[in-house]
Each structure stands twice: as C-alpha cells, then as structure tokens.
C-alpha cells in the first residue's frame, strides 16, 4: 500500500485521512496485478480442481484490505474466489483484517479486534469460518500462539525457520509449546524455488519443470510439505513469459502420479496429522529476509519510533469511537510502511529497494512520520472538538 508524498508543510492541514493514501496509484497497481495474476490464476486453479475431481487442493489467506480493493474496483475477483471456495477443495485461512503488526503490540486487544473483523468478513463473503490462522508475514511467537488458541483456532502457520527447528524437519505437524495449537511450518526452500528462483537462470534448478519439482517433493521425507507463497508469484513476480502458468497447470498431474503423494488443505492437514513434537518460540519469527525475524519492520530506531507513535494512538482513538479515524489508523498500520524504512544489510536491502517507491529508507521515514504527526494532530483536534 502506497502513501502520498506528505511534507512537513502538510502537517495540520489535511482535511481527511483519506488523503494520506495514494489511491490512484494503489488502484492502478491493484488493477494491473488483478489482470496479470488474480483473475488468470483463479481461473486456472478452478479448472485444475475440476479436472482432478477435487483431488487438487489449495488454501487462501486474503486480507480485508485486499477484499476492499476487489469490491471497489473489480468485484469479479471476489466472484472467482467464491467459485473456488464452493468447490470444497479450498480452505480459507484467518488473519488480521489489515496487513498489520498488531500482534507485536504490548496489548493484544487491537490484534484480536482485527482478527474478529477478518472472521466476520470471511463469514459474510464466503459463509466460511476458518480454523487455521496465519499472521501477517507469518510472524509467530508463544504469546501469539496462546492468543490464537484462546480465540478458538486449531492451527497456525509460520516459517519452518532453522532456528526453531534445529535438526528437525519442517515436514511434520508440530504443537505450540504452551498451548494446544497445531503448527504448520512453511518449507521455505521448496516454496522459494517457485516464489523466488523459478526464473533465475543462474540457479542450478533452472529451468524448473513440474516433473522435476514433483520428483523433489516425492524424494523428501516426512508427513507433509507446506508450500506457502505470495499469490503474486503467479503472473506478477514471475511473469507469464517465464512459463509459471504452464508449470502450475502440470503440477497436479505430476504430483498425483506418485502413489504416496496427494494434496491437502490446511484444515485437512491438522485433522490428518498428529503433532510430532513441540516448538518453542519466545522471540518473534517471520518468513522475511535471511534473519527470519521481525527486524525487517522493527530493525532500526526509525521504525521503532513510528511503531510506537502508532501503538500509542490506539487507546486514545478507541475511546473516541470515530470510525473514519480508526479505519485510517488501521490502514496506517500496514506493515509495508515500516518495511520501506528498513536499513538492513546489502542483500536484503536490495530486495527492499526493489519493492520501494522511495529513494531510500530515510525518505520513507520522513513521509510516514509526517503523516503520523498530522494524524496525531487530527486525533487531538477531534478530542478537543468533542470536549
């Protein structure tokens, strides 16, 4: 999600928080990605589910922000997701309505609110109640696991990071150390083979065919291989010219040609497999960068300063019950804004720069902080008005 250019001279002069967001650009990007990825991939997945009589299965995690864009700009995308859910071969995954870091706040009320908002959205749109949760950027720690379990979920998805597994394999279902919650761990190397490396010509696996990939999977040990990736992998990160859609089209056939392989949704996965062991994660992990922690969003003091501004606004805002301001506050919580401020090392920094529209993290900070200052002023003006 992109913000408008906002200088210190705009602080205190904005009429509506709506102006923070570069709605034209956001719409344009959404429109482009919808045409290149969401619509064609949904259609292909639906065909594959039909073709293999429901043996091919997928799970989706859709934010409320994404759904709002669909509803507003291209409702047919929602229709196509509804068709997929109707096949019965698709699980929907719960997450926070906004792509936020609310799970890292000192107080988890806002996190729970955002999860419930998402829950209602899934109910309204798809008449569906998710059983499995995955947090923004697969962020996970014991506290989050506890909260999610307390909210009634049966499973959670996070990264199969080495630092939590050590010698153990991500190809089993685990259990959270402090609560009765099944944990599905992303197989990052096989997932990233598609997500990152598919079209990388210097990679030994290139070119990746469905047959080769199915063979790799068949040779791997364990109960389950969890493949999770950005949906934009199909048609956006990997363009149609790379052959990504052909790959996907042939994958079910090649996988199902092995007797010991089949597909499951996340719901089926936690029903079918008993946890083999427990995982203990006192400090938050995620699926991002080499570090697999939250330093991508909270790695430097500038990010912490913005994060704190946001967090501190919560209690003030919630007392005031101004829906428009609360909505703006939540959109400002989108983790992207902090991601653009990352000053992390060369390798990762390059990835950040690739996705960023700012010249450098400092510009990202200035813009975001200016907006937060303006927003803070709007909130306190609102309080004065009410008093």
């Amino acid at each position: 999600m992109r913000l408008n250019r906002f200088s210190v001279f705009n602080i205190g002069k904005t009429k509506s928080p709506y102006h923070y967001f570069d709605n034209t650009l956001n719409h344009k990007i959404f429109d482009k990605v919808a045409r290149k990825c969401y619509l064609p991939t949904n259609k292909l997945l639906l065909d594959l589910i039909d073709q293999y009589d429901g043996q091919f299965k997928v799970s989706f995690s859709l934010t409320g922000t994404f759904v709002e864009y669909c509803k507003k700009h291209m409702p047919e995308v929602i229709d196509s997701f509804q068709n997929l859910v109707d096949t019965g071969s698709v699980s929907l995954i719960e997450e926070t309505y906004f792509h936020s870091l609310a799970s890292l706040y000192d107080d988890l009320d806002e996190f729970k609110d955002q999860v419930m908002m998402h829950n209602h959205l899934m109910k309204d749109l798809f008449n569906y109640s998710p059983k499995v949760f995955r947090n923004t950027e697969a962020i996970y720690d014991n506290r989050i696991a506890q909260t999610v379990a307390d909210m009634g979920y049966k499973g959670i998805i996070t990264e199969g990071a080495k630092k939590i597994l050590d010698w153990r394999s991500s190809n089993y279902v685990y259990k959270s150390v402090n609560t009765d919650l099944s944990v599905l761990l992303r197989h990052y190397s096989l997932s990233d083979d598609i997500g990152f490396r598919f079209s990388a010509q210097g990679w030994p696996g290139f070119p990746l065919t469905a047959e080769k990939y199915a063979q790799w999977i068949a040779q791997d040990q364990g109960d389950i291989i969890n493949l999770f990736m950005d949906y934009e992998t199909f048609g956006e990160h990997q363009w149609v010219e790379t052959g990504i859609f052909d790959f996907l089209r042939h994958l079910p056939e090649k996988i199902l040609s092995y007797d010991h392989l089949d597909f499951v949704t996340v719901n089926q996965a936690i029903d079918r497999f008993e946890p083999k062991d427990t995982i203990d994660v006192p400090w938050a992990i995620s699926w991002a960068d080499e570090d697999r922690d939250v330093s991508t969003w909270l790695g430097n003091e500038m990010q912490h300063a913005c994060f704190k501004e946001l967090q501190d606004l919560g209690p003030v805002l919630k007392k005031k019950k101004n829906p428009q301001l609360v909505d703006a506050w939540r959109k400002l919580q989108t983790s992207d804004h902090l991601y653009y401020i990352s000053t992390k090392g060369f390798e990762d920094g390059n990835v950040h720069q690739y996705f960023s529209h700012y010249d450098n993290p400092y510009d990202g900070f200035i813009n975001y902080m200016n907006i937060l200052q303006d927003f803070k002023q709007s909130v306190s003006d609102e309080i004065m008005l009410k008093n």
């Binding site: 001279f9 003091e301 500038m302 912490h304 450098n360 200035i366």
Partner: protein, 370 residues
C-alpha cells in the same frame, strides 16, 4: 612504476575538491610504492610531501587557477595567454623516465598532450569537472570546451569521478564510453563534534553550487518556526547578490556568511554543523558531502551530484525543489531518531571511501595504458 602527475593545487593551498583529491591520491599511490612526481605551480606556502615515494615539484609562477573565468577582472585580456604560458613552462620542466603522465582537468591538458608526444608516454586524464558543470550549464565557454575535448580525445584513458560525469563526457564531448573508468572520490574521516544549531552550506559561492536555493530553503525553514542559523562558508562571485537576497527575504539575522575558511576552520564547522546541504546545480562528485558525513553530519545532496550515486546514507533532492529541501532540513531537525540513524549509518558507510581504494583503481588504469 614512475608517474608524473600534473596538478594545480595541493594542501595547504587549495580552493576545491581537486586539491583534496590530488592529496589523497598521491599519498595513496606512494603507499603502494609508486614513484610519483607531483608538478604544481609555486604558491605562497610551499606544499611538502610526507611520503618517501612522493615528490612535490614546483614549476613556477602561475596567474590563473582552475576555477577562474576569463571574465574575472584582474586577469582581463591576459587570461588565455597566462594559461598557454604556464602550460609551456610545465612542458619544459617535466623531465625524466616516466611510465605514465597523469593530468587533472582543463588547466594542464595542453601540457599533458605535448608531454605525451615529447616523452612518448601514455596520458591518463582525470575529469573532476567540465566546463558545463562550472558554468552551471548556462552559456558554457567554447574555449574551455575545445581544450577539454582535445585532451579527452588525445588521452589514452580517462578517469571520471562519477557515472554522472562519465555521461557528460560521452554525451557532450563525444568520447567513447569504453575509454572511461569511473573512480569515486574518498575522504580522510574527520570525526564528529558537538552539534550546534547550524545548517551548513560550504563551497564556492558560484552558480554551479546553487547557494541561492539554500537561501530559499532557509527562508521556508525559518518561517516554519525553527530556530537555527544558516551558515554559508566560502567565497565567490555571487556573494553580494546572496547578501542582498538574504536581506530581501528578511532572514539576514539568521544567515551567516563566513567568507573563505582555513583548513582547520572547515573541519571544525563540519563537525559542529547539524545538517549539511549541497544543493549543486551540477556536481561531478562533491567531496564535501563525504567530508560532512565523515563528521557525523547528516547530509542533503542534489540529485545532480556524483555523490548521490555513490552514497546510500544521505538524503537527496532536486536542487530547484526548495520545498522538499526545507522538508528534509526540518525533518532532520525535528526527528531526532532520523538525525541519529543517518549520522551513524553515514559514518559507517564512509569508512569504505578510502584513498587506498582510489589509488588501487587508479593503478588499474595505469596498468591498462602501460
């Protein structure tokens, strides 16, 4: 290896980045056991070398300087002749068995070409600025351009201080890009001092350096209500105009013109400045940005500066965009955490900009032509 380097300025006497560059480069090369004779004009305070492989050789009096314009009053009429005279002097004085002749910028290019032919030795030419930069791209003088073009064509290899400058050399002078290597500048880190409420401009007060944009931004920052002084350190032909401008803008009590500063004063002001701004209209590199950053001073550089392509931990603006310049100055002053982070990361990055690296890259170029 033995190199004859034809230069113009050398500390303690210097007016710009050219002198800083020659100082760092010659010492860096001497450390690598390159025998280096550095030829330069006689100055009031003689320069001396502090390295066994490095010798400073004074050629004789010169009455022009690299940043002079033919329109400057005292030189009137005699400008072109003094240039020719000094070049002839250099040609007659440079003697010995050299492997490479290395010249910097337009002033000694003619001598470089003649020496190449006379001694039958390859010529390397460093481009620190072109006539287009010095004129701020407003009516560049054809006489300089012709000298520069001839030098660039006849040199065996060129070193440009940035890709920005390489592009100018290719596009404006029609030089084959394959003949040009880019070597970014370096700095001897200054170390930081206790910061004061100073936003600093440091450089010649000429059209090229964009001091009037600095004043426009100052006006906006002061109107915003921030309490800080704006210091313009340096001298130049725009000084009277800038003083008038500060008065017209009503900000003269918060603007300080220091005139030309000594080496020590320059170091001091870098260390105590809170923000450094380099709003150059056209800047091949801008060593001052490296110096300021090495002193822990967050730096805002013009996007049309070579430094902008080389340094990650600085802020960048279009030199004409004074609103954005003010936005960034205010942000640096108001958001402590931004100031702190950029200062810290900048200092860390600047440690990579060593003269040792510049000497290595330059040696590569020498080896290519030998």
């Amino acid at each position: 290896m033995k190199v004859a380097m034809i230069g113009w300025e050398y500390p303690p006497f210097k007016a710009g980045g050219l002198g800083t560059h020659c100082y760092g480069l010659t010492r860096g090369l001497a450390d690598k056991k390159v025998h280096l004779d550095f030829y330069m004009p006689k100055t009031k305070k003689s320069a001396s070398a502090d390295k066994p492989f490095l010798h400073i050789k004074e050629v004789g009096e010169a009455t022009v300087f690299p940043y002079d314009r033919p329109t400057d009053k005292e030189l009137e009429g005699d400008f072109f002749n003094s240039v020719y005279r000094y070049n002839d002097l250099v040609v007659s004085k440079v003697k010995g068995n050299y492997d490479v002749i290395h010249c910097h910028d337009w002033l000694t290019m003619k001598a470089g070409i003649q020496l190449k032919e006379k001694l039958n030795v390859p010529l390397v030419l460093s481009i620190h600025s072109t006539e287009y930069d010095r004129s701020g791209w407003l009516s560049p003088n054809q006489w300089f351009i012709d000298i520069e073009k001839e030098g660039m064509e006849k040199a065996d290899r060129l070193i440009a201080v940035s890709n920005f400058t390489k592009r100018v050399v290719v596009e404006q002078y029609g030089i084959d890009p394959n003949k040009i290597d880019v070597v970014h500048n370096a700095v001897y880190p200054l170390g930081s001092g206790k910061k004061q409420d100073i936003v600093l401009f440091l450089g010649r007060l000429t059209i090229q350096k964009g001091p009037e944009f600095f004043l426009d931004a100052a006006k906006k920052v002061l109107d915003y209500g921030l309490k800080t002084k704006f210091v313009l350190a340096g001298s130049g032909d725009m000084l009277p105009r800038l003083i008038n401008k500060a008065v017209d803008l009503g900000i003269s009590k918060d603007v300080i013109f220091t005139g030309r500063l000594t080496e020590e004063e320059v170091k001091h002001i870098y260390r105590i400045a809170n923000v450094y701004v380099m709003p150059s209209v056209s800047e091949p590199f801008g060593i001052t940005a490296l110096e300021a950053i090495s002193a822990g001073t967050p730096t805002i550089v013009s996007k049309t500066a070579g430094a902008a392509e080389a340094i990650t931990n600085c802020l960048q603006v279009d030199f004409w965009d004074v609103d954005e310049m003010a936005n960034k100055i205010i942000s640096l002053l108001n958001y402590n955490v931004l100031h702190k982070t950029i200062s810290k990361e900048g200092k860390r990055e600047i440690d990579l900009f060593t003269w040792d690296r510049v000497a290595d890259r330059t040696l590569d170029v020498y080896r290519e032509v030998m």
